[in-house]
Structures are given as structure tokens and as C-alpha cells.
Symmetry: C2
Subunit: 331 residues, 2 copies
């Protein structure tokens, strides 16, 4: 199931009901200040229409979540997240700081269209103007007289859009129209694919990243502007971590087994008797014909090509460290 | 299943794995101040060893959750909740207010022992001293050389204890010892029972109460000390609601049907064409031989004995307003 879904996603186009992805809206005179306060990502130059993948951290630099922030307007933002909550953190901050904002969960339910033919399908339904929507940008698109926001984003590496459905009565008509328009594109229903997102190095909050992690060790450096002239929670902690140097790092592993069990408890990565990391996600990759895994590796074990071992519920397997996203290793 | 479980819970004793009930720990010099800030319940006179059912509200008086607060020490509290999160709200407040506290999820997994024979079973395992633990109090109990906290609490009206298991390796031994010691008491595994908790008027966060409700309309007046000399979020809003008088109220309903569907979307309560409330939880009651429901009823519809109608997915049924908890109506 996961494997056939994988090939379909990589070759055709899928429609995903990702209404579990919630939008925490921040609106009001202090909205921009609060939005900046919760992430080390520099939002100061972002214009309305931008989507920004934004790690959120606490005062210790621990990751609270990793939403996509949609800047709807200068005083209005959505934090788009699929795992755990984050609205209560933001609401608590706003109250504690006495900020003039409202924080609430908006009644908006995303529908993702993902895959190499997503561009073509979305253009058929909403018109050619969608080609002008840049990567991690959103723009209004018209459907049955209503304007949805369509963003060139999504939790796969295959390209596509997320449609922010803010009219529940139009959700089923939209679904039907996408399927009617995409018959010859082999459109199908789908959902985020474990194999594809591991290969692409997409991290899952609660699995690969938790509050015990900081964004630097999770390779989210490019989303942390620690020296920018912005005010955010956790800056001192993250600067300290950067200056000391991270002590561990998210890496890829190729696993030498055809039978990759589900990761429930983390699997130790070992060399001899020494634990040098742990696997947080793993799957069999039909593209590489090996297991692929995300692992948090101790300092000194960040070199692609190095051989290690992984202790799984199905036995101990040899593994090879690799960089992310996964690429076919040189022969 | 729900019905046989209901009778077993009301006649014997059950052990519930309620490890989904999480403990948010607040500890530090400002812990008492923060704990008081998040609830209208007066904590000022509570001594360590108290468990306090405590509505938590936002600045608008909307219910954020309804944990049991365990006062572990003058500067250390647990918020014990089973639905949604609340730690992020408390952590956000603490950060925004610059308070000197730590807020985190403690590694503690409650095991509930509930039912009329719970007292006997818990005494057999932990000793006769458990009889001295008062209602909504906790005390240390010894098990295999370790001290657990045992509280005379639980999400049923049948009496019993919750054991706060803070040693995961002792959880299975404790489970086994409870079952060995309770064979002649007809001990069995169980879980919160929908019928029993509706009859008892126990509200479920996310079902019967949400952020759109205030504690006064949910009959939680006794847990809101609005005139006490304490500082908490939402006091102005709750005083205003009290002074204006609540406009709706949680009531019980007897339903005249033997076939009570599951409540997914709320069911309208109607008289003629007028909607006068909505049902939030419902079940068939084998004790009353009628349906029992919790409903949020508009002002003017709070009189026990009044006949109304309820629109369910299985049809429209006549119903009778009743007080909570449910009692057999006078003939």
C-alpha cells in the first residue's frame, strides 16, 4: 500500500485530504511582533503572499513545532501545522505579554494536490494563472465564485499545491472537480508517503524532532537567522548552541535489509558496543532497493559512507551513513 | 460491551490504564502564583496532598480545560488532564510573564482502580492506611520498595483511586498484583464508561465543554471563587457573566428511545420549530431503561420534568429535562 502509493505519488498526481493540518490565526496590531517572537526565522522582509517554513522554539532553543507560516497581511498570519498543537503556546504568550492580538484556530481545511502532474491538474481547475505562483508563495484562485488561497507547498518533494479550503460546502465539489479534470492524468487519492518523505529528508514533528531537539542539530540552520535584528524567543540559547557547535545531527542511513519494521521505540545506531545515535524514522525504499532511515547521530558520525549498525526489533543490520536528501551513492 | 462494562464497574472493581492522562508539572518559586493564575478555583488554602478539580479559562472566561490539580508541595503542582493539551498554554504564560518556573510533562502514568470494591482491593495491595486517604486527597503508598502517590479520585462516580505510576518498570507488576489480589472481588480490566459518566454528570472536555463554554453555564460554579482575594485570568469576564446571569446551562435529558445513536454532530433540542439547546453526549441507560443525555439548554429550559424533543440521526424523539446527576424521576 505504502509502496504503490509511493510510485503513484512520484509519477502522477494525488489529492490529499489534509484537513488535519490546522491554521492558527494571529491577527491584530501586535500580530507581526508576536509572529516574529515565536520563530528564529527572519520574517521582517516577508511580504503578504509568502509561505515560510519556520521552526518554533522555546527559551531553551527546544523545538515546539515547525509550521509553515502564511503571511496573509501585515497584521495577519496563519501557522499551518499538522502535528500537536501550538495555538495554546501562542495564546499563552500573547496573554502573558499583554499583546493586542487575537489567536484562534481558523475554520480552514487544506486539500493538497501533489505529484509531477499537480501543476497541470491545478491549472485545469483554477486556470493558467497558477503557473505564476512561485515556490512557497500563495495567491487567490477562483472556484465556483469563491476565492481560495492556493499555495505552492506540500509535504512531499514532488511539487504541487495546497488549497486552503475555507468554505466547507465547497470541499466535496472541489474534490469531485479535481478528479473529473484529472482522469487522464491518473489522479488518485493519497496522503503523505512515509518512504517519499524520508527520502526527501522531510522531518516529522513528534517523530524526528521533539522539544528535546534544537533546530541546528536538525539541519534547519537556513531557517534560523540568529544574527538578524529581530526579537525572538530562544535566541540566546540558539546562539550558544551555534557557538559551542551542535553535538549531534540528523543524518540519513541506508539499511541493509529488505524487511524494515515500523519504528515505535527509537532504534540504537551502534559501532561495536558504543551507541552513536538513534533512528527516528525508517522505511523500505523501492527506488534504492535498501532501507532508508533518518537518524540523530552523535558528533563524529556525520561522514557519508561510514559503515555502522542498527539494532531493530527484527535484528541487527549493517547500515551506511549518508547525507540528506537521499541520493543514489556513487558506485 | 459498554453495557456489560457499566454493570461490572457499578458492582465490582476495575483497573483502568489511563496513562493517556498526562501530568503537566509546574515547579519553582512562582509555581503557586502561576497555578492560581490559570484557574478561578481558590487554591490559596490548599495544602500539599490535595487534589482540586479546577476549571481553566482564558481571558474571555472560555474553558481551556478542566484538570485535577495535585498540590505536591508549596512550589510544585501537577495539572492532570486526559483531553487535549494545556502545558503549552501554561508554558506560554510563564514565558510571557517572565515567571521563575519550569513547566513540563512529567513521566507519570496513572492507573485507576474504580468501583465499589476498589477500596478493598487497593487496601489489600497497599495496606490498610489507604482507608485514611480522604476524598480528593493523595498520599504515598508503598509498592515493591517504591512510593507511588495514590489519590482518592477517578473519572467515575463509583469511588476508587488513581495510582500515579512514576516508575514504568513497576507498571506491569502493579497490574498483575492488583489482578492476583482481586480475583475473588471479580476484578477486571476497564475504562471510563460513557453511560456511567453521563448518569453521574461528569463532563468531557471536547464533547460537553469547549472553549466556547464558560464554567458557570457548565454548572461548575462551586469551583469558581470569583470574589476570593486571588488573581486569575478571566475574572472580569466571569464576574460579568455571573452578574448578567448565564444564558444557557448544562442539563440532563431522558430520551424516549431504546436505540440511542452515537453523538457525532450535536443534536438539536427543539420545541415546535424552536431550537432551545443541543445534546453533547448520549447513551442508553440500562438502569433507567431510557436514553440519558447531557445537553446545553437555553435560558427558560432548565426546569426538570418539562417535555421537549431531540432530533437525532435515528429520528426525532421525545425527551424530558432532568437535573444532574441523573436520579430516578418521581413516579
Amino acid at each position: 500500500m505504502t509502496e504503490s502509493n509511493y510510485w503513484h505519488l512520484k509519477e502522477h498526481v494525488q489529492v490529499w485530504d489534509v484537513s488535519c493540518q490546522r491554521q492558527i490565526e494571529i491577527v491584530g496590531p501586535d500580530a507581526a511582533r508576536l509572529a516574529q517572537m515565536i520563530t528564529p526565522r527572519d520574517l521582517s522582509k516577508a511580504v503578504p503572499g509568502r509561505c515560510l517554513y519556520a521552526p518554533m522554539v522555546n527559551a531553551a532553543g527546544g523545538l515546539l513545532n515547525d509550521p509553515v507560516i502564511l503571511k496573509l497581511d501585515d497584521d495577519r498570519f496563519w501557522l499551518s501545522i499538522a502535528d500537536l498543537d501550538i495555538g495554546l503556546w501562542v495564546a499563552g504568550l500573547a496573554h502573558g505579554l499583554g499583546l493586542d492580538v487575537q489567536v484562534f484556530e481558523a475554520d480552514v481545511h487544506p486539500l493538497a494536490v501533489q505529484g509531477p502532474k499537480a501543476n497541470e491538474l491545478v491549472a485545469r481547475v483554477f486556470g493558467e494563472s497558477v503557473h505564476d505562483i512561485g515556490f512557497f508563495r500563495f495567491a487567490p484562485v477562483e472556484f465556483m465564485g469563491h476565492e481560495f488561497r492556493a499555495a505552492r507547498t506540500g509535504w512531499s518533494k514532488q511539487g504541487g499545491f495546497e488549497i486552503y479550503v475555507d468554505r466547507a460546502d465547497l470541499a466535496e465539489p472541489l474534490w469531485d472537480v479535481l478528479f473529473e479534470a484529472g482522469t487522464d492524468l491518473d489522479v488518485g487519492p493519497g496522503c503523505p508517503n512515509l518512504i517519499e518523505r524520508i527520502e526527501g529528508g522531510l522531518l516529522s514533528y513528534g517523530n524526528d524532532i521533539t522539544v528535546a531537539n534544537n533546530p541546528l542539530e536538525c539541519r534547519l540552520d537556513q531557517f534560523c537567522q540568529l544574527d538578524a535584528d529581530i526579537d525572538f524567543i530562544g535566541r540566546d540559547a540558539l546562539r550558544r548552541i551555534r557557538d559551542d557547535g551542535p553535538t549531534r545531527r540528523t543524518m540519513g542511513l541506508f539499511l541493509d535489509t529488505a524487511d524494515v519494521p515500523s519504528v515505535r521505540d527509537r532504534w540504537p545506531v551502534i559501532v561495536g558496543d558504543e551507541a552513536i545515535g538513534f533512528v527516528t524514522s525508517a522505511a523500505w525504499s523501492p527506488a534504492f532497493h535498501r532501507g532508508v532511515a533518518l537518524a540523530m547521530m552523535e558528533w563524529g558520525w556525520w561522514t557519508p559512507g561510514v559503515e555502522v549498525e542498527v539494532e531493530t526489533p527484527a535484528g541487527r543490520f549493517s547500515a551506511t551513513i549518508t547525507d540528506l536528501p537521499f541520493e543514489v551513492p556513487a558506485a
